[in-house]
Amino acid sequence: MAILRVKDVSKRFGGLKALTDVNLNVEENSVHAIIGPNGAGKSTLLNCLVGKLMPDTGSVLFNNNSVLGLEPFQINQMGISRVFQTPEIFGELTVMENMLIPIFAMRDGAFRMHAYETIANEREVVEQAEAMLEEMNMADKREMNAASLSRGDKRRLEIGMCLSQNPRLLLLDEPTAGMARADTNNTIDLLKQIKDERDITIAIIEHDMHVVFSLAERITVLAQGTPLVEDTPENIRGNPKVREAYLGETAA
């Protein structure tokens, strides 16, 4: 069953057609990669899924519920977590606090006036956060300021924060962009581990073919705002249309 259905989505910015009639189904518990050359509309598509942009036409259904017109926090509460291209974490807060916030958000909803409770007394939440830090191998860094983490650790923390909410769909926007090879490989291993150990659907937007082919089960190639082809990694590798899309970009 498809957990995410994108139907006939179009979006234009003035005279620029960013997306034209995009149709896309992401199957439950799969890893689906969306690739394409620069300017293919990958980020626009992602922003339409998480409530940052409103498509001009078409529909986006998550688990058979429309997400269009909802605020990002509402979409998150439905079970979609997003990892950003540059890690978005709470830099001035400690690693532990970074992990506590999403767990509080999951337990208490979008707003709760828990002004007279003490964090230390919220045993369950603290334990969950500690377990998640353990899982991310970051327990020793719990009192550090998140801003002082290395790039790879920031990414790890962000993924951990998303996972702590047990999302049904994890959206990753170029998770290895600007990373050193070693960090990239660590991230790939982490994502593989997540995929194996959890009931989770992963949709990933990526530039790096190494990452895509090590993780994805299905690949959609986007070019000039429309899906060019959708297939398994093996078939995508040999597809002449895909080569053309990428080579065309290189030639230009």
Partner: protein, 401 residues
């Protein structure tokens, strides 16, 4: 203790001791001595220390935690004062209903202003709050003061008149603000040798209230709610994508800080039953920003220190005049004495703002964390020095370490 960890408990105890013993601490110089003018232990000023401390503590909950810089908080202070005086006029001179109403009205007023202003963030938010405060000032100063509908009594300021209803005012109760019969102006003066210490009922009421709201502020800082407010300051994008709606969080912080301001305004009126529009002017809003930054934004004790610092300057430095300077520098030769006095003159008396401005610049440039950071640095240096002297002899006897 009280649900606080050790560090916060000791902080609370220190603040409690300082406020309760303030009449002694602020009057270190004997009466009539040359230094006596630096004594700040008179009731009027001590009251202002704690009242502005409350104002700044509340402001810090908004500015220190969420990073939203309001330039209109004086409006809530003014609204609080007006509410309190109306309570004196309508009910009685008892301060409890007056203070209660000032908090409630300021809370409602800040809900309204916050709801509109928080549609924007950053500089636009600051400008919106400034605009609202100036509108409130204009309303209080002229619009709401006309013969048909006189809510604020305009330029003169709102005060209690003999023909006011005061329906609950008992025949024997004092004819000025009181707490169940204890007048706020009641002062017991204790003379010890050359020293004299004032214990004022109004001050102690304010001090007790400040300790309570300081305790509440600590609880807010340490709560999950406080953590969410810091998350607002740190990264709103991540917050929204983590399933949290930042708007009600900021609005709640805004209303809480507005209620603190209203409480401060109510206490001001309780100490002196008069409310004027100038309390709402933008300079008053700017003052609380200065207090918070000077003391240490986002720290618990900083705003209180900042408030005390500025109020001390305002009241003590402004009183030093040329005659005082001449008496200080009388030991210098005449020409030099005049020259020194001439040089210092612009910085004292009416020029105290100049001194404050210079100090503020120095703090912002060299101590971005405010007086609290300064204190921490001093403490660290002191500890290191102590460690050095401790280590020196031990190095000889215990080389193993």
């Amino acid at each position: 203790m009280l649900g606080l960890n050790k560090k916060d408990t000791s902080l609370l105890i220190i603040v409690a001791l300082l406020t309760l013993l303030a009449p002694f601490i602020l009057n270190p110089f004997p009466e009539g001595s040359a230094m006596a003018q630096f004594n700040a232990g008179y009731p009027d000023l001590m009251q202002r220390f704690v009242i502005f401390g409350i104002f700044a503590i509340g402001f810090n909950i908004l500015f220190g935690l969420t990073g939203y810089l309001s330039f209109g908080h004086a409006a809530f202070l003014g609204v609080g004062s007006y509410s309190a005086v109306w309570m004196f006029k309508l009910l009685s001179y008892n301060v409890i209903p007056a203070i209660a109403l000032s908090v409630v009205v300021a809370g409602l007023f800040s809900l309204l202003i916050g709801f509109v202003s928080l549609r924007r963030s950053g500089i636009y938010f600051s400008i919106l709050t400034l605009a609202f405060a100036q509108m409130s000032f204009a309303l209080a100063y002229s619009v709401l003061s006309n013969p048909k509908f006189n809510l604020t009594n305009g330029e003169t300021g709102l005060q209690v008149y003999a023909d006011d209803p005061q329906i609950l005012q008992g025949a024997n109760s004092p004819d000025l603000p009181h707490l169940f019969g204890l007048p706020m102006r009641a002062t017991y003066t204790m003379d010890v040798g050359a020293w004299s210490f004032d214990f004022n009922a109004g001050y102690y009421l304010c001090a007790v209230i400040m300790m309570v709201v300081f305790y509440l502020a600590i609880r807010i800082f340490r709560s999950p709610f406080g953590m969410m407010l810091r998350a607002v300051k740190s990264n709103q994008q991540r917050m929204n994508y983590t399933g949290l709606n930042s708007k009600p969080y900021t609005l709640a912080a805004f209303v809480i800080s507005g209620m603190y301001a209203g409480l401060a305004g109510g206490l001001m009126a309780a100490m002196d039953p008069l409310a004027g529009a100038e309390r709402m002017q933008w300079t008053a809003s700017g003052e609380v920003v200065l207090m918070t930054i000077l003391g240490g934004t986002g720290t618990l004790i900083g705003p209180v220190l900042g408030a005390g610092f500025i109020k001390y300057f305002e009241n003590i430095f402004s009183k030093i005049n040329d005659n005082v300077l001449h008496s200080w520098f009388a030991f210098l030769p005449d020409g030099l004495e005049d020259a020194v006095v001439f040089l210092i003159h612009p910085f004292i008396g009416k020029g105290w703002h100049l001194t404050l401005g210079i100090l503020f610049m120095l703090v912002v440039i060299y101590l971005p964390g405010g007086l609290v950071e300064g204190g921490q640095r001093l403490l660290k240096r002191f500890k290191r020095k102590k460690k050095d002297t401790d280590d020196a002899p031990s190095g000889k006897t215990e080389p193993a370490e």
